[in-house]
Amino acid sequence: MVFLMAVYENLIDEQTQNTEELIKEIALGSQDAFKVFYESTKTAVYSFALSFLKNTHDAEDVMQTVYVNVYHSAAQYTAQGKPMAWVLTITKNLCYEKLRSASRFGQIVGDAENDISLSNDMNIDDRLFAEFCLNSLKADERKIVVLHAISGLKHREIARLLDLPLGTVLSKYNRAIGKIKNHLQGGEYGDQ
């Protein structure tokens, strides 16, 4: 298991290279490359949107628009070794747009008072855990933790993406992980 993990970690850097190659292919119109790109980035995109909007319908909307955008603007992407940051910036901007249009219609989206409920189709443990991460962490905490855990962005890159000081990102990350660790280890008897 450890061996497999070590092999997997080596693959992350290969992954950046491969992702950029995929984007080049998408720019040339390759649907296959697009599908592979989608499959390998969809969790990062969706989770980030979810951590922003705390609403499954909105996150799904944003997710679709992200990929349509990627498809059409792949040609404009210049390889700088940061493909994930590129995709997630698109995601972030679309989330802000979603928030703005929602507030125009008087809806409350985003840092909603309401807790999010995920799909019943999910495995129970995963659902409860993901809901905990989304509902019990503060807005910045959940964005940071999701970004770090899922999209592989480094803290520095997260700081740039979210427009926060690096120190803030580090301390919020630690606080968030601490809360999750506490929750997983039972914490106090019940999270009152």
Partner: protein, 441 residues
């Protein structure tokens, strides 16, 4: 738990939340701008799979096929169907020579596991190792959830059994800390129907039916979405007869020891005082719970505790005899506080505006509730007890300068919110010393 493990868990949980929208995305892309395919279709293997496969091959167990020699085999004819369930469900169609004819992902998780792996024509062993490797890499089998179900379907019962045994042993050795359940699929219309209806493999359906057959409290539809790990936990908890090795992981739950602690501390019961202790991990109303029962000399206890976060969902205490009644069984006051207060003030001959430092406590004389009211008028202290059922007033202190009077309260006084005053906190000290405290406004 390390940060890395936590992040892996986050990754797994969220990846299960992602909806499948690719077709819709494609549709939108084509709608806005038709793009011709100018790039020839390459086969994009899952990144690094070659590396994983070579590792898997290294740990593969090579076994001799004892099934050769049945004449010229039709190599495209499906001989056995083998399915793997963890949470991802994968079905392999295998020919007589144990080469893969087809590998199908039966749910989205499985699609992730299979990725772009092309297993057609591979040896069964290689395929099995590749699949297990992928499940490990993607976090579907880990220390929190380590159970895998193998179901073998072959017309020839003997061959079915021997395949099953072989795979069982092989995988048990690969998954050192894993729990492997194996079974031979029975030809059963009900199983096939249920499997189709719930979108699960026949193997999983068969396992669930085994659990529900002996335990009518479980409904098929509630068990269908659970992981094999949870089903394994339930099966061993209910002592269902299955072929299994290893122990299903309970690590994602708080554990029986912790649950016991929670149950005992709820009513402050000491470990030494209990007997007939029973504890089991069960599945109730949509979640995994610990069901804990025990007895003490004075009561019988039953607790249902959420296995994930330790919250007590249900508490049932049956006490033998009622010498010391607890809060829920006490008589509620029928005289309300304001009425009692009014009669006290009348008795004291003072008006509402004359008093300060008003404190009212509810206390119990055995089962009978009464109000203990105290207030000062200038420097003078007044204390009264009012029976909360009859309204009868007993004067404890009337009009003497503040001095210590022993309280007669038999048990802990309780605080009730008063609309007139702010009671910040009532401690166990006597009522008199409290009137000397400054009240926060």
């Amino acid at each position: 738990m390390t940060n890395k493990e936590i992040e892996k868990k986050i990754g797994k949980a969220f990846s299960n939340a992602v909806p499948q929208v690719f077709d819709e995305v494609l549709r939108k892309c084509e709608k806005e701008k038709p793009t011709p395919q100018t790039v020839e279709n390459k086969s994009y293997k899952v990144i690094g799979l070659k590396k994983i496969l070579s590792v898997a091959a290294m740990i593969a167990i090579i076994f001799t096929s004892g099934l050769a020699g049945f004449g010229i085999a039709n190599l495209d004819k499906v001989d056995s169907i083998i399915s793997f369930d963890v949470n991802p469900s994968i079905e392999l169609k295998v020919n007589r020579k144990e080469k893969i004819i087809d590998a199908t992902a039966l749910n989205e998780d499985a699609q992730k596991v299979l990725g772009k792996m092309d297993l057609k024509g591979s040896d069964l062993t290689v395929a099995v190792n590749a699949i297990i490797g992928s499940m490990l890499r993607n976090g579907y089998i880990d220390e929190l959830s380590n159970s895998i179900l193998i179901s073998v379907d072959n017309k020839n019962e003997k061959r079915s059994a021997s395949l099953e045994k072989r795979l069982f042993n092989e995988i048990s050795e690969i998954l050192v800390d894993g729990a492997v359940i194996s079974q031979t699929l029975k030809k059963n219309e009900k199983i096939i129907k249920l499997a189709e209806e719930y979108g699960i493999t026949r193997g999983k359906a068969q396992l669930i039916l085994q659990i529900t057959a002996d335990n009518s409290k479980y409904k098929f539809k509630d068990l269908a979405p659970l992981t094999i790990n949870d089903l394994n936990l339930i099966a061993s908890g209910e002592k269902v007869k299955i072929t299994s090795s290893g122990k299903a992981s309970e690590k994602q739950y708080i554990g029986k020891a912790k649950a016991k602690k929670i149950a005992l501390s709820a009513d402050k019961v000491s470990e030494n005082d209990i007997s007939d202790y029973k504890a089991g991990l069960k599945y109730k109303s949509g979640k995994m719970v610990y069901e804990i029962e025990f007895k003490t000399e004075t009561a019988e206890y039953e607790y249902i505790i959420n296995a994930t976060n330790g919250k007590i969902i249900k508490e049932e205490i049956e006490r033998k005899g009622q010498e010391e009644p607890l809060t829920p069984t006490l008589t509620q006051p029928t005289v309300d506080e304001n009425t009692a207060k009014a009669s006290v003030l009348a008795l004291a001959g003072v008006g509402e505006q004359d008093i300060s430092n008003y404190i009212c406590l509810i206390d119990y004389n055995g089962e009978a509730p009464y109000y203990n009211m105290s207030f000062t008028v200038g420097e003078v202290l007044y204390v009264y007890n009012v029976d909360a059922t009859t309204g009868e007033i007993t004067t404890v202190q009337n009009g003497n300068p503040q001095e210590e009077v022993t309280s007669e309260t038999p048990s802990e006084p309780q605080e009730i919110p008063s609309s007139d005053t702010d009671i910040s906190s009532i401690t166990e000290s006597t009522a008199q010393s409290e009137t000397e405290q400054t009240q926060s406004q």
